[in-house]
């Protein structure tokens, strides 16, 4: 049987409660990443249990704040800092916030614009 590899679109209102639910189910945070849409960001949070993986898909506006999940999954701090620094996603209340100084690159938010 093929393991589950599913993308679940989710609204901001249910986002944190779903992540907490996943945490209670003892899921492992696989990865989180952003990609750019016109005027928006698309955030993908992957969680796995056993071989199955579910991806929460959150679409946010360019200046819309996103709550950090480091209160629930502290291990997300590196990837959240990376997303904030490279894309300019406004992630709020990250534990171990590097203040956009994780990679310390010269160019600001290089992934925000195409090309």
């Amino acid at each position: 049987m093929e393991p589950i590899n599913e993308i679940i679109p989710i609204e901001m209102a249910q986002f944190l409660s779903t992540v907490i639910q996943f945490k209670m189910d003892k899921m492992r945070l696989v990865q989180l990443c952003a990609s750019r849409l016109p005027g928006q960001y698309e955030l993908s949070y992957c969680f796995a249990k056993g071989l199955d993986m579910w991806t929460l898909r959150l679409v946010v506006g360019e200046d819309e704040p996103v709550p950090s999940i480091t209160q629930i999954y502290p291990c997300a701090f590196i990837q959240e800092n990376e997303t904030a620094e490279l894309f300019g996603v406004k992630i709020e209340n990250i534990q171990n916030d590097y203040q956009n100084r994780l990679y310390r690159i010269d160019r600001e938010t290089p992934f925000k614009e195409k090309g």
């Binding site: 990679y103 310390r104 690159i105 010269d106 160019r107 290089p110």
Partner: protein
């Protein structure tokens, strides 16, 4: 050959390489290629090193580290750029965070091409560096000038 070129100490730093050249540099030190037969010992301490092997291109963070390591090494010293990234920036040249080859930051004496550079090529480059080191030592002795390029141990630049 003088004493220095018979027992040089080698320091290796990874600029922003993909590890490919790094592990080949390490492979040079191990039994099959065995660079130690030239009297070379790998050291981790810039203050005792004569040859600096740099792999990978330079980005904004590694720039200060490379400069500092270079300034901490005593004269005479030779820099070998290992791999195409260290020579010119290689496939990463167009990346937003890459400044270019090592020679954009410090003077480079020997360029070793390849992606990844083969151990044979690295050894060849190091042997060329030995000749240069000997020549530099002779010039240096002739000039008899005082040592220069004290880098200090300020850890602030690591940040």
């Amino acid at each position: 050959m003088g004493k220095l070129a018979k027992s040089p100490w080698l320091l290796h730093y990874d600029g922003s390489s993909c590890n490919g050249c790094d592990i080949e540099v390490l492979a040079c030190l191990t039994p099959v290629y065995d660079i130690e037969r030239f009297g070379i010992i790998n050291t981790g301490d810039p203050f005792q090193a004569d040859i600096l092997l740099i792999t990978g291109g330079i980005n904004s963070q590694s720039e200060s580290v490379v400069k500092q390591i270079y300034s901490q090494m005593p004269n005479p010293k030779v820099v070998v750029a290992v791999g195409i990234c260290a020579c010119t920036g290689g496939v990463f040249k167009t990346c937003y965070n890459i400044k270019g080859g090592v020679d954009t930051v410090i003077p480079v004496d020997v360029y070793v091409p390849g992606c990844a550079a083969r151990p044979q090529a690295i050894i060849d480059g190091v042997v060329k560096a030995l000749e240069l080191l000997e020549r530099k030592r002779a010039d240096y002795a002739a000039q008899k000038k005082t040592a220069e390029g004290e880098g200090g141990t300020d850890s602030g630049t690591y940040q």
